[in-house]
C-alpha cells in the first residue's frame, strides 16, 4: 500500500493532462457557445478556425525564430499569438461580411446557417492545407519541462516520476487569464453587457438601441481570439496537425452542449467534464491500483475501461447521457 506514489501517478497521468486538455476544450467551447448565443447557430467551421489561427501563429513563430528572437524559457509562439489572433479575426470578419451577413439579413432558419458554416469549414480547411500543408508541424521551443521526472525524483525521493510540461503549465495559466478577461468583459463593460442583452433577447436589445452590427463584429473578434488561443495551446501541448482540429469539433461541441449552449460558464465546466471523462475512462489504472492494493491482490490486467482509440465514444456517451436527462445542458442553455 503506497498512497503517495499512487497519488503522484494519478496526478502525472490523469490530473495534469486532463486539466490541460480541459482548458483547451473549454476555450474552444467558449467560442462555440458565444456564436450560438449571439449569432444563433452551431458553427461547424470552429475547429478549422482554431486550425487557421494556430497556423497563422506558427508562421509568425517561424519568422521570429528565423530572426533569432525568443521568449526565454517560454515558447516563442506566445509572442506570435497576438498576430495570429489578428489574422484569425480578419478572416472571420471577412467571412461574416461576405457570407454570413447576407443570411442574417434574410433571417434564415438556424439550420441553413449551419449548412453555410459547413461550406466555410471546407474553405478554411482547404486554406490551411493549402498554406501550411496537411502534415504535422512542430513549433514549440523554450524549456520543455517545468519539472521533469528526474528533478521530481531528486526533490521528493519517490519512486514514481512526475513530469510537468511547460506547455501544460502555460495552457492552464493562459486559459485562466483569458477566461478571467472574458468574464470581466462580459459582466463589467458596456459592450459586454450589450452582448449579453443581445443574446438574451434580440428584439428587446434592438429596441434599447444596441447596434447589432457592432455586437456581431465584436463577437467574431472575441471568437477569433478564443479559437486562436485554444488552437495554439493545443498545438503546443500535442502537435499541430490540421486534421486533428477538425476532429476536435466533436469534443468541443460536446463540451458546449453538456454545459448548455449559450452559457459561457457551462462551456468551461463542460470542457473539464469531457476532458476528465475522456482521460479517466481511457487511462490504464493498473499502476495506480497496484500502489493502492495490498501486495497479494495485485492485478495483471491493464484495468483500462476503454482503449484510447475510443475517446470519441466517451465525449459522445456523456453528450447523449446529458441530453437524455437534461436536454438544455448542465447550466440551462437556450433552446432555439
Amino acid at each position: 500500500m503506497d498512497l503517495v506514489n499512487a497519488l503522484v501517478a494519478l496526478l502525472n497521468f490523469v490530473v495534469i493532462p486532463a486539466t490541460a486538455y480541459g482548458a483547451q476544450l473549454a476555450l474552444g467551447a467558449l467560442g462555440v457557445t458565444l456564436i450560438y448565443g449571439i449569432l444563433r447557430f452551431s458553427n461547424f467551421a470552429h475547429g478549422d478556425t482554431m486550425a487557421f489561427g494556430a497556423m497563422a501563429t506558427i508562421l509568425v513563430t517561424w519568422v521570429l525564430q528565423g530572426a533569432g528572437i525568443s521568449f526565454g524559457p517560454l515558447p516563442t509562439a506566445l509572442l506570435a499569438l497576438p498576430v495570429g489572433i489578428v489574422a484569425a479575426a480578419a478572416l472571420l470578419l471577412a467571412t461574416d461580411k461576405v457570407v454570413y451577413r447576407f443570411y442574417r439579413r434574410q433571417r434564415v432558419t438556424p439550420v441553413i446557417l449551419v449548412i453555410v458554416s459547413m461550406g466555410v469549414m471546407f474553405i478554411y480547411n482547404g486554406l490551411v492545407r493549402f498554406i501550411i500543408g496537411p502534415d504535422d508541424q512542430s513549433f514549440g521551443d523554450g524549456a520543455r519541462f517545468i519539472i521533469n521526472a528526474r528533478q521530481f525524483r531528486d526533490m521528493t525521493g519517490l519512486s514514481e516520476p512526475l513530469a510537468f510540461k511547460t506547455s501544460q503549465g502555460i495552457t492552464i495559466v493562459t486559459a485562466v487569464i483569458v477566461v478571467a478577461i472574458l468574464f470581466w468583459f462580459l459582466n463589467h463593460t458596456r459592450t459586454g453587457k450589450s452582448m449579453r442583452a443581445f443574446s438574451d433577447n434580440e428584439d428587446l436589445a434592438l429596441l434599447s438601441g444596441i447596434n447589432p452590427d457592432r455586437v456581431v463584429k465584436i463577437t467574431w473578434i472575441i471568437v477569433a481570439a478564443l479559437a486562436t488561443v485554444a488552437g495554439v495551446l493545443y498545438g503546443l501541448d500535442k502537435s499541430f496537425h490540421p486534421f486533428t482540429y477538425f476532429q476536435l469539433l466533436l469534443p468541443v461541441f460536446a463540451a458546449a452542449i453538456v454545459g448548455g449552449l449559450g452559457s459561457p460558464l457551462g462551456a468551461i465546466v463542460g470542457g473539464f467534464v469531457i476532458a476528465y471523462s475522456e482521460v479517466t475512462v481511457t487511462y490504464a489504472f493498473k499502476k495506480v491500483a497496484n500502489y493502492v492494493l495490498p501486495e497479494n491482490l495485485e492485478i495483471d490486467s491493464l484495468a483500462q475501461l476503454l482503449s484510447t482509440d475510443y475517446k470519441f465514444a466517451v465525449s459522445f456517451a456523456i453528450l447523449v447521457i446529458v441530453l437524455l436527462f437534461r436536454p438544455t445542458g448542465l447550466f440551462r442553455g437556450k433552446a432555439v
Binding site: V111, M118, F122, R129, D309, L323
Partner: protein, 434 residues
C-alpha cells in the same frame, strides 16, 4: 424553355462533361467517374430522403457508408474456421451478454419507480454487466486475433455472393440508425447533427480497432467480385477474338468491360431506388413527410406522429447510405477503415444534395454525378492552374514547389466555394423541388 427541358439539359451537360473526359483523358477515367458517380448518386438519394423529405440534419453519412462496407466483408469473405473454433462462440456470447446488460438497464429504468433505487439499480446493472462483458469478450478476441494475424486474425464472413451484401449493408446501417434515432431524434436539429457526427466517428473507430471484426487498419483485401476479373477476360479465347475483330486492345478492353459491368449493376440499383423514391414522394406518405417538414406543429395537430415518422425516414435514408457503402466496397474490392474521412464521405455528399437540389430526387442524382466529376477533375485542373501561375517563377524556387505541391488541396476549397455560391444565388439547387 420548359422545366423538364432544362433538367434534361442539365443531365446532358454533366454527361457531356464525362464524355469529354473519355475523349480527352481516357475511357477508364470516364467510366471510373461514372461508377463512383452512380454510387454517389445513391448516397445523395439517401441524404435527400432525410434532409429533403423530412428536414433531418444527418452528418453521420460516413458511418453508415462504412457499415455498408462492413456488410460487404461479413457477407462475402470466406469464414475463418480456425478463428471461429478459437473464440467465435465465446465472442457471440459476450456480445449477447453486453446487449442483455443494456436491455436490462433500460428495462430497469423504465419499470422501477422513480428515486434513488432506480438510479442505483441501473448503475449497478451497467457496472456489473460491463465487467462480465469485458471478462468474456477480451479472451475471446485475443484468441481470434492470434489466429494467423498476418493474413486473417479475424472471424471472416459468411462466404456468400457479394451481391447479397448490398441489402445486408443497408440493414446494418438501418440498425445503427435505429439506435441513433431512438436517442437523438426528438431533440433539436443541432443536437441530432452532433449526435450523428459522433456516431460516425465511433463506427470508424470500431472498424479501425476491432480487428476480430474487420481486421482494423490491416484492411480486408481481395473481396470476391460480382463481375469477372480482367485477367480471366484477357485469357478468355472468345473475349480476345471478339475484341480483336472489333479492333480493340484486349487488355484495355478487359478493364473497360469490367467497369461497364459494374456500371450496369449500379445503374439497376439507382434506377430501382429512384423509382421507389419518386413513388414514395408522390404518395400520401410523401405528402405527409413534406407537411411534417414544413410545419411540425401543424402536422402534429393533424394527428401525425412526428417522432415516429422522423425515425422511419431516418432509418430508410441511412439504409440507402449503407447500401451505397456496400456497393462502394464491392467496387473497391477492399475495406480500408483508415480511408473513411468525414470531409469526403459526409460533407461531400451534403454538397451533392444541396447543389443538386434538396427535396428533388433527380436533383440529388444530378448533384451526385456533377460533384463527383468536379471532385475528380479539380485536382488536374488545379495542377494545371498552378503550373500556369507559377510559369514565370524560377524553377526550384521554394514558392513554386510549395504552390505546385499544394494544388491537391484545391479540392476542398473548390467544394466549399461551390456550396457557398449555390446556397447564395440558387439556394434551392440546380433542380429545385416543385
Amino acid at each position: 424553355m420548359s422545366i423538364s427541358a432544362k433538367n434534361i439539359g442539365l443531365f446532358a451537360v454533366v454527361f457531356g462533361l464525362i464524355l469529354l473526359t473519355g475523349f480527352m483523358q481516357s475511357w477508364n477515367v470516364a467510366l471510373g467517374i461514372i461508377n463512383m458517380g452512380l454510387i454517389s448518386a445513391v448516397m445523395a438519394l439517401g441524404v435527400n430522403m432525410q434532409w429533403g423529405y423530412a428536414g433531418l440534419f444527418n452528418i453521420g453519412v460516413m458511418g453508415f457508408v462504412a457499415l455498408g462496407g462492413l456488410g460487404a466483408v461479413i457477407v462475402s469473405m470466406p469464414p475463418v474456421n480456425e478463428a471461429w473454433a478459437a473464440g467465435g462462440l465465446r465472442l457471440i456470447f459476450a456480445l449477447v451478454a453486453g446487449a442483455a446488460t443494456i436491455v436490462a438497464a433500460v428495462f430497469a429504468w423504465k419499470r422501477l419507480p422513480r428515486g434513488a433505487v432506480r438510479t442505483l439499480g441501473m448503475l449497478a446493472i451497467l457496472v456489473v454487466g460491463f465487467f462480465v462483458y469485458r471478462g468474456l469478450f477480451d479472451p475471446a478476441v485475443e484468441a481470434i486475433e492470434r489466429v494467423n494475424p498476418a493474413s486473417t486474425g479475424y472471424l471472416g464472413g459468411l462466404g456468400l455472393p457479394i451481391l447479397i451484401s448490398w441489402p445486408i449493408g443497408g440493414l446494418l446501417a438501418a440498425g445503427a440508425a435505429w439506435i441513433v434515432g431512438k436517442t437523438a431524434l426528438g431533440l433539436r436539429s443541432d443536437y441530432l447533427a452532433i449526435a450523428t457526427l459522433g456516431i460516425a466517428e465511433i463506427i470508424i473507430a470500431v472498424l479501425k480497432n476491432e480487428d476480430w471484426l474487420s481486421r482494423g487498419v490491416k484492411n480486408v483485401i481481395g473481396l470476391p467480385r460480382p463481375v469477372p476479373y480482367e485477367i480471366d477476360l484477357q485469357q478468355n479465347e472468345n473475349f480476345i477474338n471478339w475484341m480483336t475483330t472489333w479492333g480493340y486492345d484486349p487488355v484495355i478492353a478487359s478493364s473497360i468491360t469490367v467497369k461497364l459491368a459494374y456500371a450496369g449493376l449500379f445503374l439497376v440499383v439507382l434506377l430501382v431506388l429512384l423509382w421507389l423514391a419518386q413513388a414514395a414522394l408522390s404518395s400520401p406518405w410523401g405528402r405527409m413527410m413534406r407537411a411534417i417538414r414544413d410545419n411540425e406543429t401543424a402536422a402534429e395537430a393533424m394527428g401525425k406522429n412526428v417522432t415516429k415518422r422522423h425515425l422511419q425516414i431516418f432509418i430508410i435514408g441511412s439504409a440507402v447510405c449503407g447500401l451505397a457503402g456496400a456497393m462502394m466496397t464491392t467496387l473497391d474490392g477492399q475495406l480500408t477503415p483508415g480511408s473513411y474521412q468525414p470531409l469526403r464521405f459526409t460533407f461531400l455528399v451534403w454538397v451533392m444534395v444541396i447543389v443538386g437540389g434538396s427535396g428533388n430526387n433527380f436533383g440529388a442524382v444530378l448533384g451526385g454525378f456533377l460533384i463527383w466529376f468536379l471532385w475528380v477533375q479539380v485536382e488536374p485542373v488545379g495542377r494545371w492552374l498552378m503550373d500556369t501561375v507559377t510559369a514565370g517563377l524560377a524553377d526550384g524556387s521554394a514558392l513554386k514547389a510549395h504552390l505546385v505541391g499544394s494544388a491537391a488541396h484545391m479540392r476542398l476549397l473548390t467544394m466549399g466555394l461551390i456550396l457557398l455560391i449555390v446556397l447564395r444565388f440558387s439556394p434551392r439547387g440546380l433542380i429545385p423541388e416543385r
